[in-house]
């Protein structure tokens, strides 16, 4: 049973997930390059943060602060294998922050949004 499932899964992964991943990765890397090239992320960042702040303030009014908050990021996008049950019951706040903002060569730092991944960072810092 175990072997069958794993074998079957391997085929499914190869036939469907590999092509899907290819499209997904191509889309994401084009998107990331475009965002960085247009340098649109730094301008949008402040607006996006304001939107998070607005949602938090709305949460206080809507729930009276009684239902705790969490991000709206679905579990399948997170690192853990498991799904957090709190995602179903807590107040979801959209935190859509996934871009590199700027590199400060003098200071030797990079400013980035929290959902930036290592691949994005290494691709940018080491083309």
């Amino acid at each position: 049973m175990l072997n069958f499932l794993i074998k079957y899964r391997g085929l499914f992964v190869v036939l469907f997930l590999l092509p899907a991943s290819l499209v997904f990765k191509a889309y994401m890397s084009t998107r990331n390059r475009l965002v960085f090239w247009l340098n649109s992320a730094p301008d949008k960042h402040d607006d996006k943060v304001k939107k998070v702040q607005q949602q938090v303030k709305a949460w206080q009014q809507k729930t009276g602060g009684e239902i705790p908050m969490c991000t709206a990021r679905p579990s399948w996008q997170a690192m853990s294998h498991k799904q957090g049950n709190y995602k179903k019951t807590h107040y979801q706040v959209n935190v859509n922050l996934m871009d590199i903002l700027e590199i400060d060569e003098k200071k030797g730092t990079v400013r980035l949004e929290p959902m930036t991944n290592m691949g994005q960072i290494s691709a940018l810092l080491k083309p």
Binding site: R9, F16, S21, L22, W59, S80, H81, R111, L112
Partner: protein
């Protein structure tokens, strides 16, 4: 990686990913944007690592860049004795920064056999030396390539393009890809379809059937045990007895003695840890994910170690609070009004809170 944890083979020099953060910005429970660093709102700054979003929404991070070069000059040193391996691994990890390598990583392929990898940044490949772009799609999976070096039992050295080095475990997801695509490392697959690999992990998770999820839950273990380096020998023996899985990933990591102590707050003289990564199906008879994991958790607490929290934790709230120091976090949660606004870490990461 900031609200939780992130590690690399240079973490014994620079610490965990959160240690190279210069400043952080979060939106707190009252909707305010607060910036913090070592100098500004320093208590908040030291409370955020491992807080799992229990203080607010992280919206920006400023991170130190480590100057790099185009290649990593990597030595592979095979060992046939655990004792010798640990001795060298410990020596290299404890060297002062100016003498130490840039990267240290170990892979144990059985109780006694392993390969130590020591790397330095390098500008170019000297003439007569080998360059190896390990992530080209037709190349074997990195851990299998290293296993072959162990079999040859001969020290080797080669120059790896930097980005290939950093992402050396990406294609095989350490060694988990062998369970997902069992034929993924065979030459025909690599040459024909390797260019499409690896599948995107998030899509894998999205499409996994309930049956696969259950199988993993019952037969699989994903844990990173962060244990003091001084106890590595004992820890490996214990893991052999309770889990019996190889390869094991061994990555040294430094926990800095910060002026304000956060959730990971080891004994004052324990700064050097080892991340022991277990990713696979334990070979012990009657493996039970809950019972075995609980044993490992008790062992970590006894050793003064810590558990990576992307993984299942079966600890009780009290045990969890014994492992992770909540003093600063609790104080700041009250101060910033987070107590009711955000669940505390245990209520997000414990096995009871996850399905």
């Amino acid at each position: 990686m900031i609200n939780g944890f992130g590690i690399e083979s240079s973490s014994y020099k620079y610490g965990l990913f959160q240690s190279i953060c210069e400043s952080l910005e979060i939106v707190t429970a009252d909707g305010e944007l607060v910036k913090c660093s070592k100098e500004e709102n320093s208590e908040l700054f030291y409370a955020i690592p491992w807080s799992y979003g229990s203080l607010g929404f992280l919206v920006c991070a400023e991170i130190k860049i480590v100057p790099s070069k185009d290649y990593v000059q990597l030595s592979y040193i095979p060992f046939k004795s655990k004792h010798d391996f640990i001795k060298r691994f410990t020596e290299e990890s404890l060297k002062p920064a100016n003498e130490a390598y840039d990267f240290i990583e170990g892979l144990m392929y059985s109780e006694q056999e392993g390969v130590l990898m020591l790397g330095n940044f390098s500008d170019k490949v000297p003439s007569g030396k080998t360059k190896n772009a390990i992530n080209n799609f037709w190349k074997p999976w990195f851990y299998e390539y290293v296993r072959a070096i162990l079999k040859q039992d001969k020290e080797q050295e080669e120059w790896i393009p930097l980005r290939h080095y950093y992402h050396r475990h990406t294609r095989a997801l350490f060694w988990e890809m062998a369970l997902i695509i069992p034929f993924g490392n065979s030459p025909w697959f690599r040459y024909l379809l390797g260019w499409m690999s690896p599948p995107e992990v998030s899509l894998l998770k999205l499409t996994d059937a309930e049956a696969v999820h259950k199988l993993y839950d019952a037969h699989h273990m994903d844990q990173d045990l962060l244990l003091p380096l001084s106890n590595l020998d004992k820890s490996l023996s214990y893991l052999k007895q309770e889990v019996d899985f190889h390869p094991l990933w061994l990555c040294p990591m430094r926990v800095f003695d910060t002026p304000i102590r956060g959730m990971v707050n080891p004994q004052p003289n324990e700064q050097m840890f080892v991340d022991v990564g277990i990713y696979g199906e334990p070979n012990v008879e009657n493996y039970n994910s809950k019972q075995t994991t609980r044993k490992l958790e008790a062992f970590m607490r006894e050793m003064g170690g810590f558990q990576a929290l992307y993984a299942d934790t079966f600890q009780t709230r009290e045990e969890f609070r014994e492992m992770f120091d909540h003093t600063l976090l609790d104080k700041l949660r009250v101060q910033t009004g987070a107590t009711k606004a955000f669940p505390e870490p245990f209520d997000k990461v414990s096995r009871a809170a996850r399905t």
